[in-house]
Symmetry: C2
Subunit: 372 residues, 2 copies
């Protein structure tokens, strides 16, 4: 008999993986008080001033639980997405909803299919529930390859196919028609989970229409264009039957009260959201131009970040470390064909200028050390 | 073949239960803008002014993720509880940690043992993971019966024994020596989970010492004495090996950034916490006196709420509904021997006075309708 309580065999078998090391921890390691935060795709433009004011006004009532049904927020989102409130569940960020999704649809041993190299937190949750991750190859440009996913799904029989659209870390976008082709190419009992964390940065006409389908769950967040990453407010849009299942097992009181207030105010300030999206588009162009100027190839991005090619995987890793030494926090894609790139969030004009200067110098140093 | 994605058999079998209907929803049903909130054991005394100021100052940076390691908060908590940071994990409230705990230690079909009638969210999570809840009878005063738990554990062989101490909804407290006797009476491989949500209201000397034991996990929250229920910040104190397991499967970015700031400031303002605890103690005495005056028996409480006896279960339910009609939100224990009671949070002096007047009148109406 064991002499102390033991985790279940399934949980014991989960590998110890930390999805992301935080900038706070990196700053501690680098002996710095703070870093230029261009590594977590947070919004450099902050939350809407209206959201800030609403949250600050709400703070004295932090002694009250938030509404576990997030009724006001769901009502506003239902209007925004032209669906019923029964089609929406709020979670404490997309990560929370991913966990709920894997837990709901995957028994230990079940397969989830995703594009190799995509958002590692999906992989984290798949592993944490003892499910298996199967991967399809990305395109040569590190984008989602719909044909590869369909072909692989026919072989590995996944319960859930995960697609980040736009993709993170590549920034690539799958147009609506391609996505419809993916859905049509999967069996009806396969769930298509579309992570739309960065969808607000996609031109409106290019996105799939706001339609509820029984085979598709879409995940959205207030963390990116709305500038509320620290609030932890995300939502799933899905068939009411799926939402009803989540209702049976979710954390009802899990969403912070002030976050609900902030999300509602942010959603109501579309003018601000549009200004952020325009700023980000301008910043992406500036990054592309910077890449051209420095001879670092960039990937076309439909998000608030851009990937810059450094060289080999080792060189890209050196670049991340070099930038950190200079007080700049960036991350890098972990898988080929873009593991020789770094991923840089679009900052404010001042942050972009600071990054451009430091990056130019760091690139010289890295190239000197180990020519490509 | 099913024509749409299906949840796993385990999740499909979970009953559709909503742990608590929120006051916002009750207000909507009652056609009111707001209610006198005495039903969720939120702190009527709000967060510390220092925590409010710190959170308001932090709000503009909501665009940044919170530190996924909550390093500052864990460091302060380690000092507070005289342990290592490796003994502490932060979650988005105790509910989040309960979910993690059941998930970690209970395979579907495994048994968790608790006192019949205790905090229903534990039951919710046990059911949501397909585990089984076994119960031991409470004492005649609805308190935890250590002997009954030990005897029942020997029969049902639980993976986890759950004890809320002080208990919710009864308010009863198990002294340190009794708790030590419970631990000693359980097999070494049985986990004892002690929910200490209300422990801050217990006189310091009466609490078990801050000691890390491999067989015990303690759950704490900033929701009650610290007045941060809406923030969603709780923590588990446990053996480093258990914390390391949670680290493998938890939501790393799940805790709101402003909540971390608020919790840290609240923890640092022990003067304010002490003043709240003293106010609550005075309010409890006032409630006991109110009960004596109105001929409604009260249960001795070590928390920020008091249970008042109404009569039969039906009468207590009528009382909850009657109070709601009068704009007062309270809840009631769901299980004998105290299902004929209502549970009332200690409010501010003004809220207590308002409650006393409304309760006196409502008690007459309920007694007239159906004499006990």
């Amino acid at each position: 008999m064991p002499s102390r309580p033991q985790p279940t065999a399934q949980v014991a078998a989960v590998p110890a993986v930390t999805p992301f090391v935080a900038p706070e921890e990196l700053a501690r390691r680098a002996g710095r008080d703070s870093l230029l935060r261009l590594g977590a795709n947070e919004s450099a433009f902050g939350p809407s001033p209206k959201a800030i004011a609403a949250m600050q006004a709400g703070v004295p009532h932090t002694s009250w639980y938030g509404d576990p049904e997030s009724m006001e927020l769901r009502t506003a989102l239902a209007v925004h997405h032209v669906c019923a409130i029964e089609n929406i569940v709020i979670g404490s960020g997309i990560d929370d909803l991913m966990s709920l999704l894997v837990r709901t649809f995957c028994t230990p041993g079940d397969v989830s299919l995703a594009t190799r190299g995509t958002y590692p937190t999906w992989t984290y949750h798949v592993a944490a529930y003892g499910a298996q991750l199967a991967t399809a190859e990305p395109t040569a440009a590190a984008a989602v390859d719909v044909d590869a996913l369909i072909a692989q799904a026919a072989i590995v029989k996944p319960k859930v196919v995960y697609v980040a659209n736009p993709d993170n870390p590549s920034g690539a976008f799958v147009p609506a028609a391609e996505l419809a082709r993916l859905r049509a190419g999967l069996a009806d009992d396969v769930l298509l989970a579309i992570d739309e964390a960065y969808a607000d940065f996609v031109p409106a006409g290019a996105l799939p229409p706001d339609r509820i389908e029984p085979g598709t769950i879409r995940l959205r967040t207030f963390s990116k264009a709305y500038g509320l990453a620290g609030a932890r407010a995300g939502y799933a849009i899905a068939d009411a039957a799926h939402i009803a299942v989540f209702q049976k097992i979710r954390q009802h009181f899990g969403v912070n009260r002030t976050a609900q207030i902030g999300a509602l105010a942010a959603l109501g300030d579309q003018d601000f959201a549009r200004s952020v999206i325009a700023e980000v588009a301008a910043g992406r162009e500036e990054y592309y131009e910077l890449g051209r100027r420095l001879g670092s190839r960039t990937l076309p991005s439909a998000t608030n970040f851009v990937c810059f090619e450094i060289g080999s995987r080792a060189q890209a890793e050196t670049m991340v470390a070099t930038l950190l030494e200079c007080g700049v926090f960036v991350r890098k894609p972990y898988a080929p064909p873009i593991d020789g790139f770094i991923r840089v969030t679009v900052g404010t004009p001042a942050e972009r200028a600071a990054f451009a200067a430091i990056f130019a110098e760091a690139l010289e140093r890295v190239r000197e050390k180990a020519p490509a």
